[in-house]
């Protein structure tokens, strides 16, 4: 008998609730390392990731997207805020407040896929040891069980199990990224943080890896936080997209809505900057001038106002809040309701 399906779509179940996440890095000076300022790399970020969805996190370099994702993994300790995680056991824990010992049992549930397929695998370890290492550190299975699991994982990502006794150097970039994915999946995680997983790959290999990620997600009911700068890739894989600028979220919405009706001028500018693979469509004109301000000394008011074509006096003084413009569509702009019609004018 098949499982009864609900006649109406079930409401999304939150897996991770990020509230007011902050990460500051001190700026030190002199021999005594006196703290003279703070780089506010992530400054009050709120978002929720639902079970089984892909949340895309985009922004330019230095916007804090990688720092935010590393805070969620507790690879670095956040300065403030909460990271409420719904565990497999059904509890809600604040990852930001847990001690390293309390985190240990949860490590297996949240895993990461890295950007550089050449730097992220140990060249002196075989695939068996590279892919099986998360099982070893999490104390899962004996050697025989680990070997079986690695064979299963390699098959899952489209590699031959016989490869497990080879070393990473024998594989191409795309194959290595598959190995990295197999390792991330070793502990049967629920949430996978992927930081630029395809940006180092060739066009044709990129398509293969994106297809693999989509397939694995539906097969294993995975939840992805997909951090990337390439908007066409993020659009392809994400259910919802969050845009960051100078440590803050400026827009968060379902993929279709954000591309059809961007409610923040920065999002619209990012989209216009993508070179479209069609010579009949002229993009990269009417481009965004200026540079990203330093998170150590952000501008007054709206952080985007010095580069915004539509900035008014109010934008220089008043800091806009992230507001819900239409259901599920959040934007941090005083004039969010007027977009994108205003942009076309």
């Amino acid at each position: 008998m098949t499982e009864p399906t609900s006649p109406v779509p079930l409401p999304p179940v939150p897996l991770l609730d990020v509230r007011g996440l902050q990460k500051f890095f001190p700026i030190t000076k002199g021999f005594l390392q006196r703290v003279t300022g703070q780089v506010r790399a992530v400054d009050g970020v709120d978002f929720t990731i639902h079970e089984g969805e892909t949340l895309g996190l985009v922004g330019e370099s230095g916007c804090g997207k990688t720092t935010a994702s590393r805070c969620i993994l507790r690879a670095i300790d956040p300065t403030g805020g909460e990271i409420r995680y719904h565990t497999r056991a059904g509890d809600i824990v604040d990852l930001a407040a847990l001690s390293p010992a309390e985190l240990l049992p949860l490590r297996a549930e949240i895993q990461m896929i890295f950007q550089d397929p050449f730097g992220s695998l140990n060249p002196r370890m075989t695939l068996l040891d590279n892919v099986g290492e998360p099982l070893l550190v999490n104390g899962m299975g004996n050697r025989g069980e680990r070997t079986d699991r690695v064979a299963e994982l390699l098959r899952l990502v489209g590699l031959r199990p016989e490869f497990m006794h080879r070393f990473p150097h024998a594989f191409s970039g795309g194959q290595r990224q598959r190995i990295g994915i197999a390792r991330a999946l070793a502990t049967n995680p629920r949430l996978v943080v992927a930081d630029e997983p395809v940006s180092a790959l060739d066009v044709s290999v990129q398509a293969q890896v994106l297809n693999l990620l989509l397939e694995l997600q539906s097969r294993l009911k995975l939840t992805f936080l997909f951090v990337a700068h390439d908007l066409s890739v993020v659009r392809h894989i994400s259910d919802r997209i969050a845009v960051m600028y100078v440590g803050q979220l400026v827009e968060l919405a379902p993929t279709d809505a954000i591309f059809r009706h961007p409610r923040h001028p920065y999002t619209a500018a990012l989209m216009r900057a993508v070179p479209v693979a069609d010579p009949r469509v002229r993009t990269i004109d009417g481009i965004l001038g200026g540079e990203v301000p330093s998170p150590a000394a952000p501008p007054s008011g709206c952080y985007f106002h010095p580069r915004c074509r539509h900035a008014e006096a109010r934008c220089m003084q008043e800091t806009p809040e992230l507001r819900e413009i239409t259901p599920g569509h959040f934007a941090r702009c005083h004039f969010a309701e007027l977009w994108p019609e205003r942009d076309a004018a």
Partner: protein, 352 residues
């Protein structure tokens, strides 16, 4: 005298570059031919290992040992001193890499914008000094043989900085490369490449290391400068979007050979080679369905020691035929300005 636009500025014919390694011979470039017209933006697109960067190194005679140009011609029309048009044609493939003629051409007549502006500027000299040095080294050649003084070279550099959109050029000229942001550094690199008014500019993945908004700024700048100076540009990239936006003519390479070449509109809207078609299908766009499987090119790139016989693409080709494994198809015309090396478009056996 012939018209300046009808004669190619650079003409590459059957270029072959191979690397003799302990484990065997790698034929990185295996019979590549294309032309660059004066003032044209030529895009060369291909995935890693297709030989696009080695081709450019061969043009500049910068192929590292054990690499060697084993065959072919690289005909380049030199700029006569003090003139803009005409000039004698030399075969760069025959010139000694460290000889006086090649050193005159390199930087002055053919300039390079490298991929990594951070690694390309010396960190111990100011960016201004490095550009001034280039101008003083090459500048006299087109100014009727007159030497350029350091003060003049500095003024030229400040003018160039203004041209490439660097604000406060008088201060920035004395900055070190590590004091500049990624975008400014790439602008300074472009200023350096343009400093000797080259006829040909080779841009090797000039925007892959920078952000999308900065990339758009740099691409728009290159487009403006190209109109202003009418410099021919060879634009090498793996990004089909950048090619579509920048190039007027496109060369598609795979495993050291030209698969297809043609005007940008034909390449994107009427691709003739199965590889071009497959490549175009595999990129996610800003429109179209999301979260669906992208069409992929089956198989993987063969190992360099393991080149397939016949057409290099045949093991991965959806339209493969028996003869594809036996003979290498020549580049044959498939339209007025378009050519493809594929037996699908060959009437009779025309193979090498």
């Amino acid at each position: 005298m012939t018209s300046d636009t009808a004669v190619p500025l650079l003409s590459v014919r059957d270029l072959r570059v191979s690397f003799t390694l302990d484990d065997g011979l790698v034929r990185a470039v295996d019979g590549t031919s294309f032309d660059v017209m004066p003032g044209q933006v030529l895009g060369i697109v291909g995935e890693s290992g297709c030989g696009k960067s080695v081709t450019m190194k061969a043009i500049l005679q910068l192929v590292d040992r054990p690499g060697k140009i084993t065959n072919g011609q690289i005909m380049f029309r030199r700029r006569p001193p003090g003139q803009e048009a005409g000039g004698e044609v030399v075969d760069l493939a025959l010139l000694p890499p460290k000889g006086a003629v090649m050193r005159e051409i390199r930087g002055a007549e053919i300039a390079l914008i490298p991929q990594e502006p951070m690694a390309s500027f010396s960190p111990v000299h100011t960016v201004g000094d490095q550009i001034i040095e280039a101008i003083m080294l090459h500048g006299h050649r087109w100014d009727a043989g007159r030497r350029i003084t350091r003060a003049q070279a500095r003024d030229i550099t400040i003018g160039l900085f203004r041209d490439v959109g660097i604000s406060m050029p008088e201060q920035r000229i004395d900055a070190y490369s590590w004091q500049l942001s990624g975008g400014l550094r790439q602008r300074a690199m472009i200023a350096m490449a343009l400093s000797c008014k080259p006829r040909l500019l080779i841009a090797d993945e000039p925007t892959t290391a920078i952000d999308v908004t900065t990339q758009a700024q740099v691409l728009a700048l290159l487009r403006d400068l190209q109109h202003k100076y009418n410099t021919a540009i060879i634009f090498i990239t793996h990004d089909l979007g950048v090619i579509a936006q920048m190039a007027s003519y496109v060369v598609v390479m795979y495993l050291g050979r030209v698969m297809e070449q043609g005007p940008v509109d034909e390449i994107f809207h009427a691709p003739a080679h199965p590889y071009t078609r497959a490549l175009l299908r595999s990129i996610p766009g800003l429109t179209g369905a999301t979260r669906t499987a992208l069409p992929v090119i089956s198989g993987t790139l063969p190992h360099p020691f393991n080149r397939p016989a016949g057409c290099p693409f045949h093991p991965r080709c959806p339209d493969v035929m028996a003869r594809c494994a036996e003979a290498v198809p020549n580049l044959e015309p498939v339209g007025p300005y378009q050519a493809a090396s594929c037996f699908l478009h060959h009437a009779e056996a025309s193979a090498t």
